[in-house]
Symmetry: C2
Subunit: 798 residues, 2 copies
């Protein structure tokens, strides 16, 4: 095993979906699902090609209601490249004897290679190798190299290279009843001897995507001998290339594609753009070299080195790799968010949830232009969020739990429980805390970049409109002289409402209430960052009065938080729920991560029990330092101390099933200092989430981006104790026993690429050679604060 | 006359085109041509609606060649709103006796109002008023208010409010032979009782635009009585509203429209978005109030007050108004440039030339986010510019003279001389100096904002790629030991090549050569702004070696400049051309601004003479201070002094026809200190360019944005002597005799909204109340430099 390669040494058809997801290649503009064969001519199922932000809405009749679903669209597949020998059957892995099989995702280079040595039915032995990449250097370009080495025969090889528009969304079984035909009939054109073009349009959103493919045989000799023929059906177009091959003489074919869309900038028409791009593209080797160089640049910024566990190191690299394939420098300036399951994840349909909370820290430190783009995605959707707030009777902007193309609430209103086969009403849109995540991220972005211009143009406005919504969500309880938030869901999706209540929604979810206070405080702080002129201008524009600001201040001092048994209650009345029979269910079921489905199938409900799908109260300890939490409680006039923290962590840790991959990241974090062994265990489990498909099937539907980025962030922050506090970048390292050394890069203020190294006894921090005029930054290690000039290195003994 | 109103007191059908252009309303997202009637039901010719960046390409057979032209598209018109009385003929101005007519463009509010008092054929007297706006607050929204006041009759009024998709590009006569049908048949829908939707798609670029219109009768009483009917043809859809009116009781109808496109962000499908937006829009009065508030915010930043000439003050306001209607805060983040003739200018087809050179200074000082967007427009077109450079045998990025949708060269290859009726070959794409303008603007943007992050991400790269192109354009002349640039055109479009040469292009255009040196110097400076890491990364990515940088340095020290008769030669060999018979031609022709057309029609050519269409050499004195020019000549080893400057200005001033509106701006500038009277005269002429249509017909084809912005910039910079020099914002005021006082706002570094006031004896500068932490700026007045803290004011006696 290498820390740079995800490798499979045998062909396992049953593992195809998981491998396809894990071996997805992407560049932040488009993604191609991965491990599956390029070489099937049977039209059964090909991996998909997805455009970042490429959505389409369809309506399905489910029972007695119309269900509208906005899906990430599976666009025409560019991979198909198959072959046959001497006019026989087109190649298929199932039809040959496989002598040797190897599939490798090279994380450093961003390539996927499959190599098969096989004997066909006529006993001929050959080695075929497929190597492909989706260019990080030119977001519109991808390449595929096919090599056929006849070992013991000579003869005629026909290579068929096509574009396949006969695609649909079929990767998620439980969505199979939903409408999924997103594309109108394709427009197919043979452009020239080696180039074809396929243009499609989505049925509702009228988004157009074009793919042009150029297929060439390598070597002037072979190229001269090749016979070419167009192949075309209603949904496929491509070339057949026929050439004579000799034993031991490899035949190499290169397929270069350009993918464009009607949403591209600097474009006339996407079909014209695709043709032009593919015609101008250099050869496979040059494109690959540029691609590898672009990855080099990214790895220089993002690489996290840990010495001690090679598997953990490889998975960390895999996680960074997937995060950068989903949002990359190619994303900057595009109108896309961070989807929960990557840009190939048909589960959740490419929708944008709150995962950016787990993804931003890493990206803020590496490429803040990317997080700026992500925040811009939200800013552009303010009108929709304002309309949603108004429709629900609130002020300000209420961002949706699931956001897609235009920022509308896209959360399903019913979902299918595969265990029971029933469509169950879904209240998860009540997770108003997604707004908290956005506000929190605005502030984090500001803290890392120190960019007041951003705050003046957009950041403060986002904070203000969210604060306005949260303040209007709070109602005054005269009896208690407290503000309350009712009718919401916390992060724990096992609790949609009170047992036997008619309507979903809970009262005084502690996470929501406390973080709402945090948002109000920081919105007011953000406002004070601006010049008085700009403050007035913004308040005028948003129709926020000075009295309203005073009200926010009041709410931020009198929000209600409920406690029971000396712990923070997840929500009001939590302690009145039944305790859950964990042991009984662990005995009864192999896997109890998704207790919601198990209990619903039994006619019961998770609403009845003191159990959590994922971290809810504990999110507070993940996002805020203990000092910050104490300040909040102090401000609210609630007694609070370390013991409450310890009890609260212990209480919920014992009652969480980790039905979300994000949960383990949070639990690892909150235990990092108090229970290092258990913390490490959670981290290991979080690392294995996708690579081992620990949820048993969800990885095939798309990787879990929040958990992926979260684990990397966890390693960076938890092991180094890195915190941004006012104007100090401070550290308090604590390596787990399993790790000997950690090295990473951090972007802080104008010091891009700060190198941080932690060993058992030393922390070293170096600022890269000077950006002329960049002011020094303050670095603190365990309370010792020094100014670090650019171009210098400091060592701290631990 | 007011300084805030452009007013017409009579109806002049012959002036319609000019007024339509001058009274265009826009918001940086879309524009609607202006003064023309909303109230014609004859389908003859309506003003157009244009989308910023809404292009389409068509091919026309002209003689024996295919001419491809990319046009700004005229989209469906939202204005049509007409009426008839008691079932008679639909209203038309030509059919009634006009008692009183008034049309007013209100610059402060951004509204256009037409009020007509008329007697119809049956002797009934009425007053109708149309008031409209294109919202600056919500870029997708526009509104129209129609009021009918029956003075001496009561009866039935039918109001017809429609959307008209029967449009095409017909505003430029000399383009009439070119293909101009840009739209496919429209999709028309009646959405509900008061709302209709029209969606169109362009034929080639497949751009989709949707307009939804909601028409309501004001007042609950009238609304109850109204009868509604859908009217629909192949190209129109709308409503007929029938209602009984009483004498002296006004009937008011409001038409609110939402315009969306497939290029919008945060959108699913543009038709859906238009419907949603128009349904959510509040009433006319609320929309108008928000619109006026948005203009207030802009005027607070952009207003230039001059005391002394009310007409000049009004025209300055008109110019600022049009600039902000073309590029506004609504432009930020969109993929558009600054077109030469506004977004309604069918002349030049909405293409982007070098005008940003004249527009940037003003926008940099007011809203640098807008110039950032403009630079981003160029950055995104680097791939096309690189391909163009490579195709022409050069390195780096060669931006086109005329840029449209995808950054391709869109300059016409033949153009029609309306005087001769001949199609003449056009070599104007050889104006490589557009690249200089882009590079210059990058640096100016950096100087104003001080934003190193921008330089690191994009700015330096733009400078480097342009520098690479210019360096590769320079060839070495061994005999002279000098570098030369041959085969180009300077800004003066009267000189495409040498007399009787086979190929167009000139050698050693002084403006191009000297500014190329300036670009090379500043590209190297920009590179040094970055950290060594980022420098290496960028050079690697662009494939620029350290040797190449040394070569740039060498070129920047040995570029050739040619002189004759003690003046800088416009190009090599200029002095060998014939002198032109200015007096003879002035006698022969009323207007000799366009000598190119006159001479071509006579079988002669401007190439033969020492004459200029516009400032060419003199652009140097416009862009660079005398110190900077002296430094350049010193670096190149050419003797140069003030006398050469004076002689050069005098020489070219005597030989310029000012066939471009930009020319007078430059001439006013270069004479500002040496000949104040003549300078003022040029400024006045430049101010009158559009408002008086001094080119006799070109204003109707679209306003001249460069000249508009240029005059405002001229007033700001020339009268105050404002210069950004290193880290000092310095002034050296000199008011013309005609002006008593000047006041304006300037954005400099973090001090947004610096107020500068100049009177005969005092300059006052105030920084707005503190942005916490904004460092003080250095302000210099005639050599006295002081630090200005935010929130403070300084006075300087003059």
């Amino acid at each position: 095993m290498s820390e740079w390669v995800l490798r499979y040494d045998s062909y396992e058809p049953g593992q195809e979906a998981v491998r396809e997801a894990l071996c997805t290649l992407g560049n932040g503009y488009f993604a191609t699902r991965g491990a599956g064969p390029e070489s099937r001519a049977d039209g059964v199922h090909y991996p998909g090609t997805y455009l970042a932000g490429g959505y389409n809405r369809l309506v399905t009749r489910v029972g007695d209601r119309d269900v509208e679903n906005e899906d990430l669209v599976n666009f025409p597949n560019w991979l198909p490249l198959t072959f046959r020998i001497n006019g026989g059957e087109w190649f298929h892995l199932d039809d040959v004897d496989i002598d040797e099989y190897r599939a490798m995702l090279d994380l450093r280079q961003g390539t996927f290679v499959r190599r098969v040595r096989f004997a066909d039915r006529d006993g001929r032995t050959s080695i075929v190798t497929y190597r492909r990449f989706v260019s990080m250097a030119d977001p519109h370009v991808a390449g595929l190299e096919f090599t056929m080495l006849p070992l013991d025969w000579s003869g005629r090889v026909d290579v068929r290279s096509t574009l396949d528009a006969d695609v649909s969304n079929t990767n998620v079984k439980r969505y199979s009843e939903l409408a999924n035909e997103h594309l109108r009939p394709p427009e197919l054109h043979a452009v020239d001897d080696s180039t074809v073009l396929c243009t499609v349009e989505t049925s509702q959103s009228r988004l157009r995507v074009a793919i042009a493919a150029r297929t060439d045989v390598l070597g002037s000799d072979a190229a001269d001998r090749v016979e070419r023929q167009i192949v075309e059906t209603d949904t496929h177009i491509g070339h057949d290339l026929s050439v004579d091959v000799q034993a031991d003489q490899p035949l190499t074919v290169h397929k270069i594609v350009a993918l464009t869309s009607s949403r591209d900038h600097a474009s006339s028409e996407c079909g014209l753009a695709a043709r032009t791009r593919v015609a101008r593209a250099p050869g496979f080797d040059d494109l690959l070299a540029q691609h590898v160089l672009a990855w080099d640049r990214l790895w220089r910024r993002y690489r996290v080195t840990i010495d001690g566990s090679e598997r953990a190191a490889m998975i960390l690299n895999l996680h960074i790799f997937h995060m950068l394939q989903t949002v990359s420098p190619n994303t900057v300036g595009r109108d896309v968010g961070v989807p929960a399951r990557g840009w190939h994840g048909e589960a959740y349909r490419g929708h944008v949830f709150w995962d950016e909370l787990f993804i931003f820290p890493l990206l803020n430190r590496g490429t803040p232009e990317i997080t700026r783009t992500m925040l811009h995605y939200r800013f552009r959707r303010l009108p929709e969020a304002r309309a949603a707030a108004a429709a629900a009777g609130f002020k300000g902007a209420m961002f949706p739990w699931q956001s897609g193309s235009d920022g509308r609430e896209e959360t399903q209103v019913v979902h299918l429980n595969p265990k029971s086969g029933r469509w169950v009403p879904d209240g998860s849109h009540l997770q108003r805390h997604v707004n908290i995540a956005i506000a929190y991220n605005v502030w984090q972005h500001y803290k890392v970049t120190g960019d007041r211009d951003y705050m003046s143009h957009e950041g403060t406005q986002l904070l203000l409109e969210i604060a306005q919504f949260l303040a209007s969500l709070a109602t005054y309880n005269r009896a208690l002289d407290r503000f309350e938030i009712v009718g919401v869901m916390g992060p724990d999706e096992y609790h949609e409402g009170y047992p036997d209540a008619d309507e979903p929604g809970l009262a005084n979810n502690a996470y929501t209430n406390l973080m709402a206070v945090w948002v109000l405080i920081h919105a007011l702080r953000a406002l004070r960052l601006l010049s008085p002129d700009r403050q007035s201008e913004l308040l005028d524009q948003l129709g926020i009065s000075r009295e309203e600001l005073d009200h926010w201040e009041a709410v931020s001092r009198k929000m209600r938080v409920v406690f029971h048994d000396g712990v923070i209650s997840q929500f009001e009345g939590y302690e009145q729920l039944d305790e859950f029979d964990w042991e009984g269910y662990r005995e009864k079921y192999d896997d109890i991560q998704r207790l919601d489905r198990i209990l619903e199938a039994e006619g019961d409900s998770t609403d009845h029990y003191r159990l959590s799908k994922q971290a809810d109260v504990l999110m507070l300890f993940y996002l805020l330092s203990s000092e910050q939490i104490e300040e909040l409680f102090d401000r609210l006039g609630y007694p609070f101390d370390d013991k409450t923290t310890a009890r609260t962590i212990e209480y919920y840790e014992a009652r969480t099933s980790h039905g979300s991959t994000l949960s383990r990241v949070v639990h690892s974090w909150v235990l990092a200092r108090s229970d290092r062994e258990r913390s490490w265990q959670f981290l290991i489990e979080a690392l294995e989430s996708d690579v081992a498909d620990i949820q048993g099937g969800t990885t095939g539907e798309g990787i879990h981006l929040g958990a992926m980025a979260g684990t990397v962030d966890l390693v960076q922050r938890s092991f180094t104790g890195m915190v941004l506090r006012d104007d100090v970048l401070s550290f308090d390292p604590l390596l787990p026993d399993e790790i000997d050394r950690l090295e990473m890069r951090v972007h802080y203020r104008q010091h891009a690429g700060l190198r941080v190294e932690v060993t058992r006894d030393r922390l070293t921090i170096s600022s890269p050679a000077a950006i002329a005029g960049a002011p020094p930054i303050n670095v603190g290690v365990r309370g010792e604060i020094v100014a670090l000039e650019s171009g210098t290195t400091r060592h701290f003994a631990l």
